[in-house]
């Protein structure tokens, strides 16, 4: 029950950000769903495997990359329309703000731990997207091989 509540919240937050950056109404619902899928895998990794924030964000971004690419192909829209709103529950914006707050409040040691978090999370998200892209490309190559193989074997028969 609590889990479902969090997912509804993530959906609404994603759609809210999508409205702010002017995503077309046709893509609003799907971008919300992509964001929810990313957060499901994030929470799932946290609950089932380990509570490591770098790995969690990597898995979340990987899911967003793959589901976003599928949504983009389904709607024939650029993939950025689905990825950027979906990223909002994961991005280290809150931590980036904490860094500057603690620097201004003269507590640099607290700020530094937040700097490390920002860098690690941003890196994990970017790597997750890169891996998703590689995965999709590999899938396309395999699909092409398979279809040519099937076509030639059909002709032989």
């Amino acid at each position: 029950m609590y889990f479902i509540l969090v997912l509804i919240e993530v959906y609404i937050a994603t759609v809210g950000f999508a409205v702010l950056i002017n995503v077309s109404p046709r893509a609003l619902n799907l971008s919300g769903l992509v964001g929810t899928a990313g957060y499901v895998s994030y929470l799932g990794y946290q609950a089932l495997i380990s509570d490591n924030y770098v790995a969690e964000n990597l898995v979340g971004a990987f899911t967003i990359g793959i589901v976003g690419m599928l949504a983009a192909r389904y709607k024939k829209m650029p993939v950025i329309v689905f990825n950027i709103p979906a990223l909002v529950p994961l991005v280290p914006g809150g931590q980036a703000y904490q860094v500057m707050k603690y620097i201004a409040l003269r507590q640099p040691h607290v700020a530094f731990s937040y700097v490390m978090q920002v860098v690690m999370i941003a890196g994990a998200l970017a790597m997750g997207f890169l891996l998703a892209e590689l995965f999709i490309q590999a899938g396309d190559v395999v699909h092409r091989w398979f279809s040519t193989w099937r076509a030639t074997s059909y002709r032989r028969k």
Partner: protein, 256 residues
């Protein structure tokens, strides 16, 4: 290969089209890998495979590697997020690839893009900002008591951000002012007994303004090997975070 060779005039038009498409993509928050990809694809579809593009986040240079060389530069001053424009450029580029529109028509339609409006009314965006701040604060802190207050403060912050941005040309001032107001209102509201934790309210309320996506895009550009644009985008995001953080700290120092 019996590609029709283009006249100098058509080559000029092609370079201008590529420049305009790249400029619109960068101004509206696309990552640079996609921009150079789009430019190369437009050129290849027009029958000019030897087009050279040097794309950075503050300017684009394009030339055709030819005897009658044409080279052009576009500068990019402001960056924002407006995915409608990216979508339109993408759709036009696909139509051009499918030979549904000519190069002339492509260029004319690209010129119209900066005048495109928003899909959503102002109150809808205001509501979206309020929901975004409230929901993010609930997701991060699991505290349902502050939801309404965070929504209202976030909406106020976004309103002030938009208002200042429209009137003041200097960048980062709008973030600073909005963050100061958010901090002051949150602290006063907690003092009056309307909310529990000023820190949670502030984190939720600055969420529509924080440059989280820009930081992630910066790292993506870096990973793809854009060693000039990645750090530049990172610095931009850092200054934006600075403005927000200093604004809130100002409120914290004043009202303690």
């Amino acid at each position: 290969m019996n590609e029709p060779t283009l006249s100098i005039k058509e080559k000029n038009l092609l370079v201008q089209t590529c420049l305009l498409a790249g400029k619109i993509l960068i101004e509206n928050g696309s990552e640079l890998n996609r921009v150079s990809d789009t430019i190369k694809r437009i050129a290849a579809n027009a029958g000019v495979p030897n087009l050279r593009a040097y794309v950075t986040i503050t300017g684009i240079m394009i030339s055709i590697d030819d005897d009658d060389t044409v080279a052009k530069i576009a500068e990019i001053d402001q960056r924002d997020f407006d995915l409608r424009r990216i979508e339109v450029v993408n759709r036009l580029s696909r139509k051009f690839a499918a030979h549904q529109i000519t190069l002339h028509r492509f260029y004319r339609m690209l010129q119209k893009i900066p005048y495109f409006g928003r899909y959503y009314q102002f109150w809808q965006r205001l509501l979206a900002a309020a929901l975004l701040s409230g929901m993010i604060s609930v997701i991060f802190t699991h505290d349902y008591g502050d939801f309404w207050l965070t929504s209202v403060v976030g909406m106020l912050g976004w309103l002030i951000y938009q208002g200042v941005r429209k009137r003041v040309t200097a960048s980062f001032i709008s973030e600073f002012v909005a963050a100061t107001v958010i901090g002051m209102v949150a602290i006063m509201a907690v003092r009056l007994g309307l909310g529990h934790s000023a820190d949670n309210i502030i984190i939720g309320a600055v969420m529509p303004l924080v440059p989280g996506v820009q930081i992630t895009n910066a790292v993506r550009d870096l990973i793809y090997g854009n060693l000039i644009s990645g750090p530049a985008r990172g610095i931009e995001a850092l200054i934006c975070a600075c403005a927000l953080g200093f604004g809130v700290s100002l409120a914290l120092i004043w009202l303690g």
